[in-house]
């Protein structure tokens, strides 16, 4: 992952989030379907996380495929920055 911040795009429906994930996975962008960060006023429980520097490409890809986004948010603190995630012992 590049050192920059993550961003998330949120949606009005989970169907839109899953459709967005499908179209983004057909690109070379690195994106991930995740539970919507709770601090965001979310319309739907699923969001897509991406590298914030790719914001415009993500937005254009969704627009071109007729997927309506409810909003884009930059995440100031990347979740894994500097820490090893816990895993099975």
């Amino acid at each position: 992952m590049p050192a920059g911040n993550h961003g998330v795009v949120v949606f009005h429906t989970t169907s839109a989030a899953i459709k967005a994930d499908k179209v983004l996975r057909q690109t070379s962008l690195s994106t991930k379907l995740v539970p919507t960060p709770r601090h965001l006023s979310s319309d739907c429980g699923l969001a897509i996380r991406f590298d914030w520097t790719n914001r415009e490409v993500v937005a254009r890809t969704l627009e071109d495929n007729g997927v309506e986004a409810a909003g884009y948010h930059e995440l100031k603190r990347p979740p894994e920055a500097g820490h090893r995630r816990p895993g099975p012992a």
């Binding site: 429906t13 989970t14 169907s15 839109a16 899953i18 459709k19 979310s42 699923l46």
Partner: protein, 398 residues
């Protein structure tokens, strides 16, 4: 009579009730769904929920593509066509409104309309001729008098009669009425282009021509139809806007509350893949050829009356017949027990259609072909009907 020389192979001619057998891919997809992606579709962020959500999206996109809809979220899933028709009719009609329908409708249209009539909706039933075709001039006259809804079937579940869908939908739009089309018998069997035909609402079922399992179906909202006009039948959890206690307005959530039938939709998606690979056009051509073969053979048998249009281009693969001189349920029983031919006898949930065809209240024997019906089965069926007719009226026999 003996089944011995007919073989003990079952001949399934009840595809208008539900198609059988299903393509093996359908059961495989359903088993895989339960084993591999059994989360609640899109409700939770974990991988099984997402996997299930992807399956539902795949089914939605496949249905949208079949009906030439650009926006898959205008396909709303329901339990079946009846559920979709109730959603359309109860969602659109209010006391004082006027609804125009035909005298060939199934009870999935008639019963909601009769209930709405009791609540103050004016329901106009336009007569149909003896072959089941709606009187188009009469239909247009009723539309011209003002109507909120024009609700009609694409084809009859009793006689196979195909109504002029494109003409009726265009007439409804021109008159300012919303078209509500019952495509239970035609989805996957006849080409339907919701966009080009200007249809407002199309109700379909998944377990007939689309080759999917029971418990799947839906309502397609045409591209020009404003979803805000339609009140939802059911409200509840959607996995979206969870902080609000009001039901969301966005599609498809506006019309889909509660956990969807993910396992059924997995089967439906698989059925649609099989269907689109074979193509609706080819299914139609094959069914038409076999139906014509059956129709010719049956109409040649003395004592047998076949209902519906003679012209094969105006009928689906559904045929109803009566053998005079006996109760029709006896005919159905003999076909089953002596010949292993599975049909449906009675009124087929469509008393209006049977009144129109002149077969009310005794009903008829319905033979409905499907995806897997063979020419040999058609010939065996015609031979069985010939034998039964000869047995009942020996003097009329061959």
């Amino acid at each position: 009579m003996s089944s011995a020389d007919m073989g003990d192979h079952l001949i399934y001619l009840d595809n208008a009730a539900t198609s059988w057998p299903k393509p093996p891919e359908v059961a495989a997809a359903m088993a895989e769904y339960l084993a591999e992606s059994g989360g609640n579709p899109g409700r939770s962020g974990h991988r099984l929920s997402i996997a299930a959500g992807r399956v539902v999206l795949e089914a939605r996109e496949a249905v949208a593509s079949l009906f030439n809809m650009e926006d898959p979220f205008r396909v709303v899933f329901t339990l079946n066509a009846t559920h979709a028709l109730n959603m359309a009719l109860f969602g659109l009609l209010r006391p004082g409104d006027r609804a125009v329908t035909t005298a060939m409708e199934h009870n999935s249209v008639m019963r909601p309309l009769r209930e709405l009539e009791r609540r103050g909706v004016e329901v106009v039933v336009v007569p149909c001729d003896a072959a089941g075709f709606v009187d188009v001039d009469h239909f247009l006259r009723e539309l011209a008098r003002g109507a909120r809804v024009a609700c009609f079937q694409h084809a009859s579940n009793v006689s196979g009669t195909i109504q002029p869908l494109e003409l009726l939908a265009a007439a409804a739009r021109a008159a300012g009425a919303y078209s509500v089309v019952d495509a239970a018998q035609t989805a996957g069997v006849l080409p339907i282009d919701v966009t080009a035909m200007g249809i407002d609402l199309l109700a379909f079922t998944g377990h007939k021509g689309l080759q999917g399992p029971p418990g799947t179906g839906g309502l397609v909202l045409g591209p020009a139809f404003d979803p805000e006009i339609l009140q939802p039948l059911v409200r509840g959890g959607t996995g979206s806007r969870s902080e609000f206690e009001e039901h969301p307005a966005m599609l498809p959530d506006r019309f889909e509350a509660g956990t969807p039938n993910g396992v059924g939709l997995a089967g439906l998606a698989a059925g649609l893949t099989v269907l689109t690979n074979r193509t609706v056009e080819r299914v139609r051509a094959e069914e038409r050829e076999l139906t014509t073969r059956l129709h010719h053979a049956l109409t040649a048998i003395s004592g047998v009356k076949v209902y519906g249009p003679d012209d094969p281009s105006h009928r689906t693969a559904v045929l109803s017949l009566r053998i005079e001189g006996t109760a029709q349920d006896e005919v159905g029983l003999m076909l089953d027990e002596e010949f292993g031919i599975l049909t449906r006898v009675g009124l087929h949930c469509a008393p209006a259609a049977h009144r129109t065809l002149g077969t009310f209240p005794d009903g008829a024997v319905r033979l409905s072909l499907g995806y897997f019906t063979s020419a040999r089965e058609i010939d065996q069926t015609a031979e069985a009907v010939r034998r039964i007719a000869g047995y009942i009226s020996p003097e009329k026999g061959p």
